[in-house]
Symmetry: C2
Subunit: 144 residues, 2 copies
DNA sequence: TTGACATCGTTCATGGCCTGAATGATACAG
DNA sequence: CTGTATCATTCAGGCCATGAACGATGTCAA
C-alpha cells in the first residue's frame, strides 16, 4: 500500500482544487473569481490602509496581479483607489460599501458550500475540522 | 464578522493550493507534476487495465490532457501504452516497475509533507483530520 | 540643491496549463 | 456495406500568473 492518495497532503490538494472550482461557480454571478474574494477579504481584515505591495505579499502573488484584480474590483465599484498623501507612490485600496455587501454574499456562498460538503459529518467532527484547518493555515503562514 | 476566511471551503481552497505548490517542488527532481502523480496513482489502484478515456473521467480532466501526461510519463519510462487487442482504438496504460518506484518516492515525499504541516498537531487530531478528509473526498466523488 | 539610488504602481510580453474542436482510425448496428 | 459512434491524437486558443521594463515619486548623502 503506502498510497499517495491516502496522504493528507494529496487529499488537501485535490479537495482544495474542487473547492476552488465550486466556489468559483457560485460567485460567478457576481463577476468574481476566488482571488478577487481573497483580495477583498484581505482588505476587510486589514486594520491599516493597505498598499498594493502589502496586499501582494499577503496574498502571495505578484504585484502586477494585484493591479489586475484591483482594476476589476474598481470597475465593479467594490474597491476604491486613493493616493496615499503621505507617500504619493502608494495606492491605498479600500473596500466600498458595495464591496462589503458583495463580500458578505461571497461569505454566504462559502457557507453554503461548507454545509454541502459537510452534510454527512457530525457537528463535532465539522467543528474539529474547522479548527484543525485553521491551525494548519496559520502554520503555513496564511493570513487568518 | 461572518468572515469568508473562517470558512471551511475557503481554508480548504487556500491550503490545497499551498499543498500542491509544496508537493510540486518536492517532486520536481523526478521531473513530475502533481497531475502526473495523480495519473500514476490512478493506474496503480486500477484493477482492470485503464483506457485513457476512463482515466480522464476519473481524474476529471479532458482526454487531451491525459495524452500529454501519458506522453511525458512514457518518455520517463514510467508508463507503457499498449493497444487493447479487444478494441484496437483503445490505448491501455500500465505502470512499469520504474513507474511504481517513482510513485513510491512521491508517496514518501507526500508523507514528509504530512509530517511537516501536522507537526504541531496531536496524533489523534492528525488521525481525525486524515479520516475526515477521506470522507469529504469520497463525498465529492473523488477516487480513493 | 542636486544627483544617485530605492520603491511603488503599471504595462507588456511571455510561458504554462488546460480545454474544445477537428482528424483519422477503429468498432458496430442495420 | 454504409452510416454513425467512440477512441486517441493534434492543434489552436484562452486564461491565469509571472518577471522585466518604465515612469513617477521618495530618500539620502554630499
Amino acid at each position: 500500500m503506502n498510497d499517495v492518495k491516502q496522504t493528507i497532503a494529496f487529499r488537501l490538494g485535490t479537495l482544495g482544487a474542487v473547492m476552488q472550482e465550486r466556489f468559483a461557480s457560485k460567485i460567478e454571478a457576481y463577476d468574481l473569481k476566488p482571488k478577487h474574494v481573497g483580495l477583498m477579504a484581505a482588505l476587510k481584515s486589514g486594520t491599516v490602509a493597505a498598499s498594493q505591495q502589502d496586499l501582494a505579499a499577503r496574498l502571495g502573488v505578484a504585484p502586477s496581479l494585484v493591479v489586475a484584480l484591483a482594476d476589476h474590483l474598481e470597475r465593479l465599484g467594490a474597491v476604491e483607489r486613493v493616493r496615499d498623501p503621505g507617500d504619493r507612490r502608494r495606492q491605498t485600496l479600500t473596500l466600498t460599501e458595495h464591496g462589503a455587501a458583495l463580500l458578505t454574499r461571497c461569505a454566504a456562498a462559502a457557507g453554503e458550500l461548507d454545509d454541502e460538503i459537510t452534510a454527512s459529518l457530525a457537528a463535532s467532527e465539522r467543528a474539529a475540522l474547522h479548527d484543525t484547518l485553521g491551525r494548519l493555515a496559520a502554520g503555513v503562514g496564511l493570513p487568518s
